[in-house]
């Protein structure tokens, strides 16, 4: 299977490492044969490392690949996925699936019409702590779910140039780009969402240097989810927490509290004080790699995968409703989309 990655930023590079580790156990190794990048310079290091060829446009790469792995900024997903689907390629797409529900629906329709997979890279489903909690809920360890609290906090995304994360029209801002992870997770464990109500700091304070979102989801089964997202903490903070309360038990997770390593180093080898270090929580396989491996097996053997195109679309629908609610101050009722399969 020949793979081409569109976009060579942090996510494209991370997926490339996943593809390098995929295969084996009776499956042939996938080949990363192409990279689509705006400039040869930005793709140079990854091309050298992987041996993949650099293409200026997706159209030029399409004849050479079986799988297109879309790792571009969010607002470009729609165009890339439609092109790949029209060429009959299998597709992996970074989250959020699209910047709008309209675009996401077109993408799902196009992939179904073309008979190709559209696998959405909601990597949180592959993080061991989230996967384990999902399994515990699925095994009925804590009974019927009542209230979920999901929290994801960091600093404002930084990029040396072209910081599209901060461009609302491209990324959707905090309510979409950051918090979509937890909308998807909430829906994965507590089911479809009926009502979305959201508030966001930047709605009231457009000039604020931080941003923070609070979203209340009402699930169709009556469970409630509280989703908090922060771009408000000092770098290099990255903290995730969750609490899942059922009528027969409670699950808690806090990335700070469970980090097995804390570096309290006074001076590094050069004798200078290091930047503040993050507590580290290493696992033997990166969740991004676990994800690519599962996608690869799904594509090779047609086995079901833990995330579908429907899930990617449903998460975009929640995110768009959250943006709408934060702007209007009113709750948003979600309509049933025909593309979201049960």
């Amino acid at each position: 299977m020949r793979v081409g990655i569109v976009g060579v930023g942090f996510m494209g590079t991370t997926h490339a490492a996943g593809w390098a580790a995929a295969g084996g156990d009776g499956l042939p190794k996938p080949e990363l044969v192409g990279l689509v990048a705006e400039t040869v310079e930005e793709a140079g290091p990854l091309a050298t490392q992987t041996g993949a060829r650099i293409y200026p446009r997706l159209a030029d790469m399409l004849p050479e690949v079986d799988v297109v792995d879309v790792c571009t900024p969010t607002h470009l997903h729609h165009e890339m996925v439609l092109q790949a689907a029209a060429a009959g390629k299998q597709i992996i797409c970074e989250k959020p699936l699209a910047r709008t529900v309209t675009e996401a629906r077109q993408m799902v329709q196009a992939c179904r019409a073309a008979g190709v997979h559209l696998l959405v890279a909601h990597v949180v489903r592959f993080f061991p702590e989230y996967a384990l909690a999902k399994a515990a809920v699925a095994e009925d360890q804590i009974g019927r779910l009542g209230v979920l609290r999901l929290h994801r906090g960091s600093y404002r995304p930084k990029k040396p140039v072209g910081n599209w994360f901060l461009d609302e029209s491209k990324s959707g801002g905090i309510l979409m780009d950051l918090m979509i992870h937890d909308y998807d997770y909430a829906r994965w464990i507590a089911g479809d969402v009926q009502t979305v109500y959201a508030r966001r700091v930047s709605t009231h304070h457009p000039q604020a240097s931080i941003d923070y979102g609070l979203v209340i989801l009402t699930h169709k089964n009556g469970a409630l989810s509280h989703i908090a997202g922060a771009w408000a903490y000092p770098p290099p903070t990255f903290r995730t927490r969750f609490e899942i309360a059922g009528d027969a038990g409670l699950i808690e997770f806090d990335s700070d509290a469970t980090a097995p390593i804390q570096n309290l180093i006074l001076r590094d080898r050069e004798g200078s004080a290091p930047d503040v270090a993050l507590p580290a929580s290493p696992v033997s396989e990166s969740p991004y790699t676990t994800q690519i491996k599962e996608f690869y097996i799904c594509l090779m053997e047609g086995r079901p995968c833990r995330i579908t195109a429907s899930d990617g679309l449903a998460a975009v629908q929640i995110a768009e409703a959250a943006i709408q609610s934060a702007a209007s101050g009113q709750p948003v009722q979600l309509e049933t989309l025909p593309e979201v399969l049960p």
Partner: protein, 338 residues
């Protein structure tokens, strides 16, 4: 100290319907300037039992306790039964510390504030978190401008099902509701105090999933409360803590400001204790007792004849926001207060 002040401030406790009443006996007795003149309870057996247990004088009726001319009383009836005792004590010219929530209807709360004003007696609402050592530090830093402008709060006041203390906590009539009524007022009051702003709007969603077979009232709830100036605060008031959790529940908030965030866990000061007889970890609280500081403030306000730091109006405003949460949960829409 003002030499004209009486040596001892005479205090009585009216009812032990609320389990805090027993703790207040200890809080009052630890103050040298207080004379706990006695207790009364319309549940005579309960009142007599608790009086005996603590060696306190038992008055057979509220009227007889009030006739003994206390300077102040602490009212610990069920939530919906605060009003008649507040009216009785105010008419007797006695200062009042009333358990929270102040009332279960806006009309009751308003009447209670008015009647105390009319009789010139102090009405204090029992909001101990105003006296929490960690919260006072954060409030002082906020007032000193250390955090800059406040944008929002992400807050929780979660607990276990409170029936292990008293059955009436889940009685719709006596408690006035469930998790909303029990756990909204503290955080609304804390944020009003922090910001010096009133609530303008409340959005709320409730459910009935925890303990569904045991109680009728709502046991899960999420609220979004907006304050004057646009600061918004989510409050999780759920009774989601199982009885085998390490403690009763807690009160936490993240305050997000222009300079980042402050994360506060008011009841974090615990030992983790593992005992063979418990077969689970439990948290043993060693932080300062906010109830003690609250009782002291009530006594000092009486002795100095000044308004207490937290008043009946504060109790009224918190009730108003709680009732708005019920209306919002019912309609599914945000409710505007002012």
């Amino acid at each position: 100290m003002n030499p004209q002040l009486p040596a001892k401030t005479r205090i009585g406790i009216l009812s032990f319907a609320h389990h805090h009443g027993e703790a207040y006996i200890h809080n009052l007795r630890s103050l040298p300037q207080v004379d706990l003149i006695g207790v009364a309870d319309d549940d005579l057996a309960r009142g007599q039992r608790i009086a005996n247990l603590h060696g306190a004088v038992f008055f057979p009726s509220y009227e007889e306790l009030l006739a003994a001319r206390p300077d102040g009383v602490v009212i610990c009836t069920e939530n919906s039964r605060h009003r008649p005792l507040v009216e009785l004590a105010a008419a007797a010219g006695v200062n009042i510390l009333c358990e929270k929530p102040l009332a279960t209807t806006l009309e009751d709360a308003q009447v209670m504030v008015e009647v105390c004003d009319r009789h010139g007696v102090l009405l204090m609402t029992a909001f101990p978190m105003r006296f929490s050592a960690p919260l006072k530090i954060v409030k002082a830093s906020l007032d000193a401008g250390e955090f800059g402008q406040v944008y929002c709060f992400n807050a929780t006041n979660q607990g276990e099902l409170p029936t292990k203390h008293r059955k009436w906590f889940v009685d719709p009539e006596l408690a006035g509701g469930g998790a909303f009524m029990d756990h909204t007022v503290h955080l609304v009051d804390i944020i009003r105090w922090f910001l010096d702003k009133e609530v303008t709007e409340v959005y709320a969603q409730a459910n009935h999933i925890f303990h569904a077979a045991e109680v009728e009232v709502e046991t899960g709830g999420l609220e979004m409360v907006t304050f004057q100036g646009g600061v918004f605060a989510s409050i999780d008031c759920s009774w989601c803590r199982p009885p085998y959790w390490p403690t009763w529940g807690g009160l936490t908030f993240e305050m997000v400001t222009e300079r980042g965030a402050v994360v506060v866990d008011a009841f974090r000061q615990n030992l983790v204790v593992y005992r063979q007889s418990w077969q689970r970890a439990a948290w043993s609280y060693w932080g300062s007792d906010s109830n003690q500081a609250m009782i002291e403030e009530f006594i000092q306000a009486i002795r100095e004849q000044r308004p207490p730091l937290v008043t009946g109006v504060d109790g009224l405003r918190a009730v108003e926001a709680t009732l708005a949460a019920y209306r919002s949960a019912h309609s599914g829409l945000p409710v505007t207060i002012r």
